[in-house]
Amino acid sequence: MGKFHPNVDKYVVSRVRALESILLDRGILPADAVDRIVQMYESDTGPQYGARAVAKAWTNPTFKRRLLTNSTAALSELGLEYDQLIVVENTDAVHNLVVCTLCSCYPWPVLGFPPNWYKSPAYRARAVSEPRALLKELGLEVPSEREIRVWDSSSEMRYMVLPQKPDGVDGFTEERLLPLITRDSLIGVATPLPAGGA
């Protein structure tokens, strides 16, 4: 609901219902499509594939190299056919941040649905021109000497951040690492959770 549409909901709902009934009548929308799609996405959403890829990269250097240089091959090892992903690695010298200023492009196959803040005009406007100040507002202080690379998703290529491994997780299995790897850390607006934090 738009901030400035005080009564938008009823109006929007009635337009959606009307369009839905027309598309059902014409056979464009199968009768069960809405329910099935909603059910499917509500039960199967989030950054599972992305987190799995990162956990594996943290524990397996050759997988990490593949993920960074040929993500299609790396993701297919996880059972995902996806040829549009570029994975960018955070280091002590470089922090990466993903945005789409022109619309809201986002790597759905690996991260699930984009959160509303990612699609907001404020994020889209500010991430490119004042990333460090924005990240600080969001609770992530990136040292001034560390370069922030902002990836503005202007093509069909999609971006995911490979965050730095938290301290104290040496010897953790992929399964123990997984809960530390939040969606926000894969966009670049947060770091993974600390070892004891999940």
Binding site: S21, I37, E137
Partner: protein, 229 residues
């Protein structure tokens, strides 16, 4: 087009608010819009570039006042009308409460409930043409102001950058959004220094922006850093 959607660098939007435990859909109608968009795309009624351009063509005030799925609804309604599938008069005239979902027939929605990603959607195209620009080369972006869809943001118009990577050959949105086919072109990742984009004021110089740009957006610059020094 230099539309309201081209938000990069704009000031005055205030803080970014993150919702805790955000649901996938905030209301039932959002799920319905999502499903209808999926169905229309699966039926190849329009492509993703046409969809983006339909959103860009919204009235600017309505664009900013709308939520994400309200924009999808506006684009969907507009494209269905423009493609002659459902006229805007029909949508308006239809009683609001007529949508009654029939009992689903098993497997009926298979064509519509797509996998999360299908390689049929890939933007890659095969090509024999060698890319014109090499990694490390300085380029300058086009200053052309197009009336239609384009993926060169306004903040990076007429700016110098360095080729950071070659990305293969891809469908060209400026053509694809206007029924002009795939018209594939080499795509590049281009790095722009913050001072080039945002000028000489209070700028965080350690915050470059990387954009994926098609070959026809780019031109060579004389000398390694170009004649601007």
């Amino acid at each position: 087009m230099d539309g309201i959607h081209d938000l990069g660098g704009m000031q005055g939007f205030g803080p970014v608010i993150r919702e805790q435990n955000e649901p996938v859909f905030h209301a039932e109608w959002e799920g319905a819009v999502f499903a209808m968009m999926r169905a229309a795309r699966a039926r190849k009624i329009f492509n993703s570039d046409e969809m983006r351009h339909a959103i860009e063509r919204m009235d600017p005030a309505e664009y900013l006042a709308s939520s994400y799925y309200e924009r999808w609804l506006a684009a969907l309604t507009r494209l269905l009308a423009e493609k002659g599938v459902v006229t805007e008069a029909e949508t308006g005239a239809r009683p609001a409460n007529r949508a009654r979902r029939r009992a689903p027939a098993a497997g009926e929605s298979q064509a519509v409930v797509l996998d999360r990603y299908s390689t049929a959607q890939s933007s890659f195209r095969s090509s024999n043409a060698a890319p014109a620009f090499a990694v490390g080369q300085t380029v300058v972006t086009s200053n052309e102001r197009k009336p239609g869809h384009t993926r060169l943001p306004r903040y990076a118009r007429g700016k110098r950058g360095v080729i950071a990577a070659q990305r293969g050959t891809h469908v060209f949105p400026d053509a694809s959004a206007h029924g002009l086919g795939d018209a594939p072109q080499p795509l590049y990742s281009v790095r722009f220094e913050a001072a080039e984009l945002w000028g000489t004021g209070d700028v965080d110089t350690a915050a470059p922006v990387y954009l994926d740009l098609w070959e026809s957006y780019l031109a060579t610059v004389a000398g390694p850093g170009g004649d601007r020094g």
